[in-house]
Symmetry: C2
Subunit: 328 residues, 2 copies
């Protein structure tokens, strides 16, 4: 009987060959404006449009903490870590111009796994028109660690921040919430038979969409914005703190994903929806802008004076005050 060949590993290629292989995965990601120099020189050189500022963010994914290699499809691993970075650009209203990738992996990591991670990342990079412009490759004895820095541009002084919410503004959120937490629950419980049925449920966990078009549309309308990356409650607390305002959310208004609980909608991280505040007078313009970019949005609460975050639970009208600020 022929012996089955050992699957090829990172250690079977030299660094240049691995980098070439990664670059190939991203070849179809044609930048809007070609970077003057990409991978292969000491650094990438990129141009911003005149009158624009640079927007930069970094976010890493660590095996075991942010993904499980035996549960998450490798394409999803690549998609998710880039999506989290692009979502930060979206929350600022910025347009991506490129990203840098650092991959730390053990030499025995299967090449097919790395290829699939790169393909998942490249598909999103293409959709977001965000080319890979640089990177680094390191051997590690520990879990796979993927670190990305995403770069974007924004018209000078037009960045959406967390700090602009004013009393009287309404609090809005895009899409649905809770799907990522529900998906993770399914993924961890799933036996192979349950997988197919769960496909719809898992999409939100495995392929969250950074709301880049919505973020850009929000620039002239929203007073403050943040993406739901650590969970609605935590992210809204940050917005309230930065704005020096009190946010009151009506839990019964939350757009809860089908099958998810209100608790999941309040706590689920990596949803990559945008939560933002809009002056009441712009509500109609806001609805129109959201329709134009094809994203559902809804009002979930309002901004008052004071500080902190209040979540109203109905029908019992239970008032739960989450006071994380007290910890500081």
């Amino acid at each position: 009987m022929a012996r089955r060949p050992r699957p090829r590993q990172l250690a079977d290629l030299d660094e240049a060959a691995i980098i070439e292989r990664l670059q190939r995965a991203f070849l179809h990601v044609v930048p809007k404006r070609a970077p003057r120099l990409g991978i292969g020189d000491d650094a990438a050189v990129l141009s911003l449009r005149a009158g624009h500022q640079l927007v930069a963010t970094t976010d890493a994914a660590v095996e075991g903490a942010d993904f499980l290699r035996d549960r998450f499809p490798p394409r999803a691993v690549g998609h998710r870590v880039l999506a989290q970075n692009l979502s930060d650009l979206a929350a600022m209203g910025a347009t991506p111009i490129g990203f840098l990738l650092t991959l730390c992996a053990a030499p025995e990591t299967a090449l097919t796994w790395v290829d699939a991670v790169a393909r998942g990342m490249a598909a999103l990079a293409a959709a977001a028109r965000c080319p890979l412009v640089g990177g680094d490759l390191s051997a590690t004895s520990g879990p796979v660690t993927i670190s990305i820095t995403a770069l974007g541009e924004i018209a000078r002084g037009r960045a959406l921040t967390r700090a602009g919410a004013r009393p009287g503004d309404q609090v809005w959120v895009s899409g649905e919430l809770g799907g990522a937490a529900l998906g993770l629950e399914w993924l961890l419980a799933a036996r192979s038979g349950a997988r197919v049925a769960a496909r719809g449920v898992l999409a939100r966990l495995l392929r969250p969409e950074p709301r880049l078009a919505l973020g850009r549309a929000l620039r002239p309308l929203a007073s403050a914005c943040v993406d739901v990356s650590d969970g609605l409650v935590i992210d809204l607390e940050r917005l309230a703190l930065a704005s020096g305002a009190r946010l009151t959310i009506d839990a019964s208004l939350l757009p809860v994903a089908r099958g998810a609980s209100t608790a999941q909608a309040l706590g689920s991280g990596e949803e990559l929806e945008l939560v933002f505040t809009v002056p009441r007078a712009r509500a109609t313009a806001m609805r129109r802008a959201a329709r134009r970019v094809g994203v559902a949005v809804c009002v979930i609460g309002e901004v008052g004076s004071g500080s902190g975050l209040i979540i109203l639970h109905r029908p019992r009208a239970r008032l739960a005050r989450f006071d994380h600020f007290a910890r500081r």
Copy 2:
């Protein structure tokens, strides 16, 4: 007898407190032009000077592969990983504008160690006027992994690349070579008694200086440039390949660090010296520019037509051709 308290660990603080602590280490690093937004919003917003392009590079350090926690002083760990990134900016002739930091560490990592890493990094950041503008913090079950993206700016179209070397140009190098390899040899062999004597030898390994001022001075003079990060032979091969030229180096002209061998000067990585090509007619201007920035430079070879790298060893006039290109 009073029990000695367990040293505080990352796990003893929540994420916000750790980030605050890291930020404090960098508080004295005042940016030339304050970033519009730094850590604390979804992304940093930075302005480039009019007529300038963005230069971006990323480089990571993994415990075990790039540093040994029990041998490298923590300040050196922080200094080195930022220095490697700044050196890539230097090799492009760019001026730093800020950097993003991703730290992946086990929850039981000692806070004092993290603090010292941050202090080493902050001291260099201050010297290079390169503020920390963003970051990410992740828990890992594996080795400490520090990933940095450094951002810089350069007058449009003025970036130094690896691709401009032309036949007739001379090959120059800054400073001395081999010291990092020699320092590592000492560090790995050192018993505590040998440490003090080795302090001078170790400086090159532990506190390599990115040649930012020299890189800027080279912009109007050099035809191509690369920093010595993987070893002179490997980095020169890359320059030869990118330029489509043949480089001939005379090993007897190498500025070998005291105590190091010629082989170490040829192979030592992370030296962070610049190696660059200059048209012969600009040699005098080159010497003058180097004097102005206070960095020693010397000619080690010349550019010819053809391809690849030739190292001439004297006095035996042994000619060793390093032909790594054949591997591709």
